[in-house]
Symmetry: C2
Subunit: 351 residues, 2 copies
């Protein structure tokens, strides 16, 4: 299947200075994929420069006259910015011109616009943000990381299904294991929400593992970890904070006096490999799951190589038919389970 | 004020093999403090050996015939183990023989016994687990880390008061800043619980900072960070998992081939300093706050130097009158605020 990715080139802290070089690099290493650069045409043309020619019809520019600000409230982005690069990129997915959209713009606005334009899939009440975290063994798909701060057990079950389908699609796992984030692994541990969600997950057709504690995420205990968006967001941001602190400590110790600096020089290749392995940029690209189209959110401050990872993640999900997999799983459930929120299905039917 | 610490010597993964040497080391460097070693008398006497003599009356052994298992349910520990080393150590605090108790035994049983024997302070509904986490700037007191997985806004306010009093007592901060853990710093972010708790904290006499995101914990944005026990526990354990993963990556990279091993050898002093700075053992000792006595929980797998840190934390809190500070703050509130849970006060009055 030939895939096209629509790129919101104006979003993020650096805009086209990062997004355009990333797109050109991506095209160079992914010959089967096309991209549409969305944003202020003149600026994008200037950035692309002579690079445009060699990719032929695989590289297109699509003008959009507005830009959503990094702090702009979702409502204002939806109402007042109908020709924003973010909105136009998502429109291209809806119209079938592209199979996925990527943006480094603000998460709230991106989620709101994506939900408004694409609608949720039948049987999905709430879209969720899913991120592939590095683990000692490989990677774990964690969701929700902040889209929903007041989930029901039914939402957590849906997150489990969406996360498992993402792991199936992208990592080609036949029956990915799904864990539920909790304060202990014993059955009696947890709050009301986790206990209810555990029952639903255990009764589903998923390969449900049981409860996973916070340290299980990075141990790679399961392929997918499900949590309420409040808890997931705190876990993700706490991790970012800790990683930053440890990096600061390491840098400070290696620059403390001439002997340490000499040691740092000699250890440089080792430290570079470590940095590369632990680098969050390599894992860049959170997937907004549960929509009728693929939308990937890059970190706002991503450098070009990291933004390129987000484009690759979007293309990968599209090539592996992520949306169809989730839709199939949900319609199989609809036949056996009457518990899904019909309001959300009706909402989806408006699309 | 002369302080005595009662030590549950049988708890933890290693029991007296760790707790007794830690106590002896502690006595050597804290001449003003006494300890009571609680546990199987014969075993403790054998472990102490000739070390006993030089500390005179500062070192006592108190026999307790039972041991609470590391996986033993709290109910069984309370009902069937009335002469456990854990229970007897806490009894010594209640009877005024000691001003603080320390245990590396299981958290659930320790919290249940401490609450049953000591009772909560007037105005405190639920005790909380508070841990001093390292930050780029110093340290942050985070609570609750798992005692309560379904908090109300009123509980979070009480946690704020207890955490602030701990920071005041131990770090001698006059007006420690208090942050509320949330998914964003803007006022509109969060769930119902955080919004209600934010109102209560802002209206209190605390030095309330506002919302803090997960990465704010390790940035040291505030002196105290308050969270529901479910969220706090996940944040703490996720941190442990990430730190372990990064340590594994670092070790693997420094042992990958002869050049890396040579670099590791040269960088050894630097890596040791880094390890020391990031070592969770240095921060060992979670305080169970809100009780009518000081109880400190050591990590179950703590080595002797780390267990010694937990003893020092307990002595420090006692010397700085932690319980009186919290009680004073709560009774000052009781004069101005009728919102406290009278059930808990009644419960406390039974003590």
């Amino acid at each position: 299947m030939s895939v096209t990715v629509a790129i919101d080139c104006m979003g993020g802290d650096h805009g086209p200075a990062v997004t355009v070089p990333a797109a050109l690099d991506f095209l160079g290493v992914h010959p089967g994929v096309s991209v549409i650069l969305v944003g202020l045409e003149d600026e994008l043309k200037a950035r692309v420069g002579e690079g445009a020619g060699k990719f032929g019809s695989r590289l297109r520019i699509h003008h959009a006259s507005q830009v959503v600000g990094m702090d702009e409230p979702p409502k204002s982005a939806i109402r007042a910015k109908k020709d924003s690069s973010m909105r136009v990129a998502i429109n291209l997915v809806k119209e079938g011109e592209a199979q996925a959209a990527v943006s480094a713009g603000n998460t709230g606005a991106l989620m709101a616009i994506a939900r408004f334009v694409l609608k949720t899939l039948p049987g999905i009440d709430r879209p969720a943000i899913c991120f592939a975290l590095p683990t000692i063994r490989g990677r774990t798909y964690a969701l929700d990381l902040g889209a929903n701060v007041d989930c029901t057990a039914q939402h957590l079950l849906q997150f489990g299904i969406m996360g498992a389908m993402l792991a199936s699609a992208v990592d080609h796992l036949e029956r990915p294991t799904v864990g539920l984030l909790n304060v202990g692994e014993e059955e009696i541990k947890g709050n009301g929400l986790t206990k209810q969600a555990a029952e639903l997950l255990a009764a589903s057709s998923l390969n449900y593992y049981g409860y996973v504690e916070g340290d299980g995420i990075y141990q790679g205990t399961t392929d997918v970890v499900v949590a309420d968006g409040f808890v997931g967001n705190v876990a993700l941001k706490t991790s970012e904070g800790l990683a930053k602190m440890l990096a600061t400590f390491l840098r400070e110790e290696f620059t403390r006096g001439p002997f340490s600096k000499l040691a740092a020089l000699l250890a440089l290749p080792v430290l570079r490999r470590f940095k590369h392995r632990a680098d969050p940029g390599r894992y860049n690209g959170a997937v907004l799951l549960g929509l009728r189209g693929i939308v990937v959110k890059s970190h706002g401050s991503a450098a070009a190589y990291a933004f390129e990872r987000a484009i690759a993640r979007a293309a990968d999900a599209a090539e592996n038919r992520l949306i169809e997999r989730i839709a199939d799983k949900m319609s199989a459930r609809a036949g056996t389970d009457t518990n899904t929120d019909t309001g959300a299905i009706a909402d989806g039917d408006n699309a």
